[in-house]
Symmetry: C2
Subunit: 358 residues, 2 copies
């Protein structure tokens, strides 16, 4: 029953192909210096007997080292990109096991010049692979071109720019998540009337940013299911509490009847804290992303639905894809990977974790 199937080694291939293991090795790694004839015979034998290199022996013997460079926005504690960073940190140990070192370069999300500088730093680091969030379109295309020229694979996270030759993409389906948000917000016959959407006011944000697509999905749903719904914008600033207080006060004074609220960015906790401060109790508030402060707002009942994806897992899978590609030249099973949209409410928030291994 448990007969030990003798493993097929490189020596078997060599013997059957009538060459030495050195030659087989050259073929397997496309390292050249092999005649067309030998090459073909070796490949044939490999195919026929199903030879798969022993990863352990390979890892043990190799002296190759890789360098994975990640380019993500700088963050303050508790912000969205901290989750992404945690995923990177988690993957570091595994990557090190494969002789892959990870270094991370940060840029300021709303500063295009900073992103440019980040791109240059990535290239200067001579990476073997790159994982990044393509915030600015043109700069991303330039980076892609250079990476392509150097044959360096790159993986998108969070959002993607179509038509490029990226190795893979991992992110939440943004448009769908907006659609889902509208569905939850207007569930049970709510929101016949008015909705307030809270947006981040910043001129430097590119127009085609991910939350914008989320917003579009939201309007898709509204157009289909509640065409007479009126949606107002309220602009806030992530780091200007006083400004926000005034903006929301002004809004609710002018629109006292609005009770259905949504934000498309990750800052819904700001809205929740405002509602609590002002004692507005009968609102339905929907938001995004698994920040601790958002979770707390869900626990307090102020945020009714929080739509999240497993950000750490997402990044982890991105890095895993890179590892597989670097080590085994394995193409990812699917290039575009939409992560699941999880719905978090008061009664399941305490059981929601983002873990992928024991």
């Amino acid at each position: 029953m448990n007969k030990e199937a003798k493993n097929i080694t490189i020596k078997d291939v060599a013997r059957l192909a009538g060459v030495s293991k050195g030659t087989v090795d050259r073929v397997v790694h496309n390292r050249g210096e092999v005649s067309q004839q030998s090459r073909e015979r070796v490949l044939e034998v490999i195919e026929q007997i199903g030879y798969r290199p022993n990863l352990y022996a390979s890892m043990l013997a190799t002296k190759r080292h890789y360098r994975l460079v990640c380019l993500i926005p700088y963050f303050e504690p508790g912000e969205y990109w901290e989750l992404v960073h945690r995923g990177i940190v988690r993957a570091e140990e595994k990557a090190r096991g494969y002789n892959i070192g990870i270094e991370t370069i940060f840029y300021h999300q709303f500063d295009i010049e900073s992103f440019r500088k980040g791109c240059r730093a990535v290239l200067d680091a001579m990476p073997s692979a790159v994982l990044f969030a393509p915030t600015y379109r043109d700069e991303t295309l330039a980076l892609n071109a250079e990476l392509q020229a150097r044959a360096v694979p790159y993986v998108y996270i969070d959002s993607r720019i179509e038509g490029c030759n990226y190795l893979a993409y991992f992110g939440m389906p943004m448009r769908q998540s907006g659609y889902l948000g509208a569905s939850l917000l207007t569930d049970c016959g709510r929101a016949a009337g008015e909705v307030a959407s809270f947006r981040i006011a910043d001129n430097d944000i590119p127009q085609d940013n991910p939350t914008h697509r989320r917003r579009e999905g939201f309007f898709d749903y509204i157009a289909q299911h509640a065409p007479d719904c009126r949606v107002s914008d309220v602009f806030i600033r992530p780091h200007d509490a006083l400004f926000n207080l005034r903006a929301m006060d002004a809004f609710f004074e002018a629109n006292p009847g609005v009770r259905n609220l949504i934000t498309f960015n990750s800052r819904v906790h700001l809205i929740a804290e405002y509602l609590e401060k002002r004692g507005l109790k009968d609102c339905t508030l929907v938001g995004y992303d698994m920040l601790d402060r958002n979770f707390d707002a869900v626990r307090r009942g102020t945020v009714k639905y929080l739509i999240t994806q497993r950000t750490e897992t997402q990044v982890y899978r991105g890095i895993n894809t890179i590892i597989d590609y670097l080590i085994q030249k394995r193409q990812p099973a699917s290039k575009d990977n939409a992560m699941a949209m999880d719905i978090i409410m008061r009664d399941n928030v305490d059981y929601y974790f983002d873990m992928f291994e024991s």
Copy 2:
């Protein structure tokens, strides 16, 4: 920057401890035949210089083989336990890489004698580790005792029996999932009045089975939030369509006003299909588990909320825990692992996958 930190090898330990690498190896693996004195010095050196065995070299050289035996209920295609089985199959490749073979033994879920036989088969297989669903209490305890005596680690999935010395447990928090189900069912002021709960009629099912605990959680919520709610039971049989048709017809004839429906087992698709057949359109139906037929019912809109956990991931994590324990004697980070309860609705069902690696 990229200075190659020379790896600490077993030879370094041997040199510093004044013994040979053979002795170090014996110490590391508790293989005996080492004097107390040498043993202590080796351990001291290991601690001091932070020696960690190279996993690749170890896997390459070892001739040890392990046998992981899984004991789970037999299933028909499309049933819950098929998901569990898929998780096992998925983990097989990874396990094989560590010289761990997996074999699965099936028993009939509602047949205690079959479970007994399964337990015996597990022991006869001389397993190095066991993963199983503890369906029947006494038989499980007997199996545990024997495994304990043999120093064979075992992992629970799906449910657990407290107080045993299991290596780890992975499953949905059943009671909370019932609580959440009630919360969703009575959301938005629904279910002031009556609720129907659909249960599987079978005398052989143990009273303390997992779905029973889910039901208890449901009543917890009702007692807290809707004490005047009346809950009726409707009994169905998984494999007797005619019986079910009559049972449900009879129920709805006698209780025409009931529009809030829930099942605690995985067969909510049966209810959904009945509702569609009878054209009952204005019901709110809540169910559990990510079966394909349940997903379809969510897509058709008949099931409003489906509460699921990532079953494959759950099993995969269980097997991973075993791998870590067998290969590196690593204790799991947490013994009891409650998997997240995901809420599936029409607008996110198409983006819900149970994948854990690229």
